[in-house]
């Protein structure tokens, strides 16, 4: 369970992505014409809250985590991640947190205060039902998984690199994941505290955010965005990494300005913690704070610009192959530039007074998250699919996916910039007729449906591919540069029969250029120690799930029982030594030892 799930867990993460997408389409159907009554106002708020929460916490991040899990150990020449047990625990807590959040649809109403859950709207006075409780507890449980994932990847990358794989020889994707993990480590605990405080307010009548008893509603905004802004970079940095890999491979060229790329990534991560108040320009922090945060935010454009130029110059003079993955990566670049430019526009506080909370913002962050992150994930999935599953995705359907998704995306969101400038606020259930919003909203809805078609095409591609034989070559794109392309597709459970010796940046490419067939092993063939699969992470997550329900409905016995299940599992884990098992060299023969 610990090792195997890293290639098969895609399914539930994709299901969350589909749920979030379905919610988006329902939102767009409601808005296709003025004064529409397709869903009720309450339902609409639930949809927009769950769309945001699901897409960010349950779809985008876990999809990234799935890619990281599959690829990072391969790229650094490791047998596994540093903590397989935590890896599995992180997955199950994420799954049960997401499940808990979505159970709310069937128990009298999903959370409806937006994914930002601003108080007092999210407090018990104005959200008296259990909706926001599900948000608070579901995200708390899912957040544990993310935090554990962050620690795991950092430890893996620091401690488990193959001989010769120095930090400045690491592939760009590994670098971005490293920085992202650091951001997770320092950003998520703030959310943990915020959610705990909101939970105390809601379940135990605490007064953190209750102005009547001295609480402060602005405090929630600060805590939320201190987490929330780094979260945006947590999402986008790995996408930068994917794009760097895909662009290099399909241009048959080394990444232009590798060290400046690494430096830019660090700078973006660092600045990401200094800019949270740009989400709060209209909250009333005063001119000094607004000016400082404006300037700090604008600064981020510099390292981002460096990245964009480096990608373009990587392609310049290359030998570019237009596969689906490559198309998504190339489509990503102009799309992300647009999101970046509107980002700088929003960074100017006086202008933001006009843009803030309008459809302009909606357009901006969808350009960054869908146009950036989701396109990056699509590129990564098409690129690494053969390595993960041993089968090549169908290129024709892939190109159909790209064209429909790309056109649909720009149709949906480009017009939203203008809706915002015309004065359409975000998160509105409906709009009046005669304001000039009708035509643009209709275009936007048609675009959303096109994106839906693109996603369905991708699903069809997966199904068709699953029926084909597993015959992908080790290096199916023929221009693989990094270690993952040195081993068989799909990667065996021990990844490398013999740990490879890394002799330079782009380890495999270097061997190819030196005329070698593959990597030089750094160790003799020996028995490989593997951790045993464990059921405990699953049971622990079930315990948390039960505890969440217990506390939410004020049944403290059930709540305590859930916690006891969790702690009991921790005790068992501590007391029972995992001796694992060994794969002997003769078992490795015939499976193609090549390392």
């Amino acid at each position: 369970m610990t090792i195997k799930n890293r290639h098969s867990v895609f399914d539930c993460r994709r299901i969350f992505f589909l749920i979030g997408g379905l919610e988006a389409i329902l939102i767009r159907i409601q808005l296709w014409k003025p004064l529409n009554n397709f869903v009720s106002a309450d339902m609409f708020n639930e949809l927009l809250t769950m769309h945001g929460t699901t897409m960010i916490f349950l779809a985008a991040m876990p999809l990234l985590f799935a890619l990281m899990n599959a690829i990072i150990p391969l790229q650094i020449g490791a047998r596994d991640v540093a903590f397989p047990f935590l890896n599995s625990l992180g997955f199950w807590t994420f799954l049960f947190g997401g499940l808990l959040l979505n159970v709310s649809w069937f128990t009298g109403g999903a959370p409806d205060a937006g994914w930002t859950s601003y108080v007092p709207l999210a407090g018990t006075t104005y959200s008296g039902d259990h909706g926001v409780d599900y948000y608070v507890i579901g995200l708390q449980i899912a957040g544990i998984g993310t935090l554990l994932g962050g620690i795991n990847f950092m430890a893996t990358i620091i401690n488990m690199r193959a001989p010769g794989m120095s930090f400045m020889r690491m592939p760009m994707f590994t670098w971005t994941v490293f920085i992202t993990s650091a951001l997770i480590l320092f950003a998520f605990p703030a959310l943990t505290v915020g959610l705990a405080a909101l939970m105390f307010d809601r379940l135990f009548d605490a007064n953190f955010f209750n102005p009547a008893n001295g609480g402060n509603t602005i405090l929630w905004e600060h805590i939320f965005w201190i987490f929330g802004h780094p979260e945006v970079y947590i999402l986008i940095l790995p996408a930068f990494g994917i794009i760097s890999e895909v662009v290099c491979t399909f241009s048959r060229k080394r990444l232009f300005g590798y060290s400046s790329m690494v430096f830019a990534t660090m700078l973006i991560g660092f600045l990401g913690f200094m800019v949270w108040a740009h989400h709060m320009f209209t909250t009333g922090l005063g001119p000094v704070a607004n000016a400082l945060f404006s300037i700090a935010t604008m600064l981020i454009a510099v390292p981002t610009g460096i990245k964009i130029f480096n990608w373009i110059f990587t392609m310049w003079g290359g030998s570019i192959r237009f596969t689906t993955a490559s198309l998504f990566a190339i489509g990503f670049i102009p799309t992300f530039v647009m999101g970046g430019v509107t980002g700088v526009m929003l960074a100017a506080a006086p202008a933001d007074f006009q843009y803030h909370d309008s459809y302009f913002v909606v357009a901006h962050f969808h350009y960054v998250i869908v146009g950036g992150l989701i396109m990056g994930i699509f590129a990564g999935l098409h690129y690494w699919w053969p390595k993960m599953f041993g089968r090549m995705l169908n290129e024709t359907i892939g190109k159909i996916t790209f064209v429909t998704f790309f056109i649909g995306f720009h149709m949906t969101f480009f017009v939203q910039h203008f809706l915002g400038l015309l004065g359409m606020p975000r998160r509105i259930w409906t709009y009046l007729d005669g304001l000039g919003f009708n035509g643009l909203n209709l275009i936007s809805t048609i675009g959303a449906i096109l994106m839906g078609i693109g996603t369905v095409a991708f699903l069809i591609n997966i199904v068709i591919t699953a029926a084909k034989p597993r015959n992908a070559a080790d290096d199916p794109w023929e221009d693989g540069r990094t270690l993952e392309w040195a081993i068989s597709s799909p990667a065996p459970e021990y990844n490398f029969a013999q740990t490879p010796l890394v002799r330079g940046y782009d380890a495999l490419w270097k061997e190819k250029m030196d005329g070698n067939k593959g990597m030089t092993p750094a160790e003799p063939l020996g028995s490989i120690h593997m951790p045993s699969p464990s059921i405990l992470p699953f049971i622990m997550s079930v315990g948390l799930f039960i505890a969440g329900f217990g506390f939410m409905y004020h049944n403290y016995y059930i709540g305590a029982a859930g916690l006891i299940i969790m702690f009991a599992c921790m005790v068992i884990r501590s007391v029972k030594d995992d001796h694992g098992f060994h794969i002997e060299p003769d078992e490795l023969q015939g499976k193609g030892v090549k390392a």
């Binding site: 709207l121 060229k253 080394r254 610009g305 030998s319 570019i320 192959r321 237009f322 909370d357």
Partner: protein, 278 residues
């Protein structure tokens, strides 16, 4: 495409590591651009934060947001109104925002940027000016509940003379409905929360002069020439609203009031004739 790979092309392009000159150029140029952008940004941040709340020449308006309606208090004139903010043209309007319940955001897209109205003690200020007379649409920009989308208001910019007339008209006493049955219903069922003139409660929107407002409830537009589903005459709109407020603005605090057909008709008629002359 210059760099497209042809089928069977096995040449290996030059592996460029980077180019320091280029990299410095595309780091420095954006920095210069940002400085050019940053200076006016900082200037206007401080410019927009000017405090006119003590300025006697500015018109002071205290804006209090409530779940799905806006209250406008003019402390210099001792008046309160709702849903329609009347302002003189070419004068500084100094706004102070606070909230009666959850967080909202005060926004008149055509006139100024927005400012949040926070719950609790965090009061915000802003100022703006309307150079031309006219009616402007105002919006709530912060998610505040089911009817967040419908929390509109109007800003009516008029010349100084009619602004003064409006102030005076608003202060005049208001007669109650003539028909005793309607009056009885109006006093017991409406004035418990709403006010007309100097009578009634102040919990919910002040109804003085509602007959001459641009809208009922912020979204039912009053016009004799109805084009859209949300338009009608004042009388029709009032009747529509009072009949079932929840249908117009889901989740608002008014709820259905038990009225007979005559009472409903009479109250709607009375309110539609409650006009201000300015």
């Amino acid at each position: 495409m210059k760099f497209r790979r042809r089928r069977g092309d096995n040449t290996i392009p030059v592996q460029v590591e980077g180019n320091h000159k280029l990299e410095i150029v595309w780091t420095v140029i954006p920095i210069i651009l940002l400085i050019i952008l940053g200076v006016p940004t900082v200037q206007s941040v401080f410019g927009l934060s000017k405090d006119y709340s003590k300025d006697p020449d500015a018109v002071q308006v205290i804006v209090t947001s409530h779940q799905y309606w806006w209250e406008f208090e003019y402390p210099q004139f001792g008046i309160k109104t709702a849903q329609e903010m009347v302002i003189p043209t070419n004068a500084k309007i100094a706004i102070e925002t606070k909230s009666g319940d959850v967080k909202h955001s005060f926004w008149i897209p055509a006139l100024a940027g927005k400012i949040d109205s926070n719950a609790g003690a965090n009061v915000n200020t802003m100022y703006f000016e309307a150079p031309k007379p006219g009616v402007y649409l105002g919006k709530c920009a912060e998610l505040c509940g089911p009817s967040h989308a419908l929390m509109d208001f109007k800003v009516k910019a008029v010349d100084e003379a009619s602004f003064d007339r409006w102030i005076a008209a608003l202060k005049e006493p208001v007669e109650l409905p003539a028909d005793p049955a309607v009056r009885e219903a109006f006093v017991s069922k409406c004035l418990s929360c709403h006010a007309v003139g100097d009578q009634g409660g102040m919990i919910y929107p002040n109804l003085t002069g509602i007959g001459s407002r641009e809208t009922v409830g912020g979204i039912l537009v009053n016009t004799d020439d109805a084009k859209y589903a949300n338009e009608g005459t004042v009388y029709e709109n009032l009747k529509r609203w009072i009949e079932d407020p929840d249908k117009i603005k889901p989740g608002n605090g008014m709820g259905k009031v038990a009225l007979t057909e005559q009472e409903l008709d009479g109250i709607a008629k009375y309110l539609s004739e409650l006009k201000l002359d300015y």
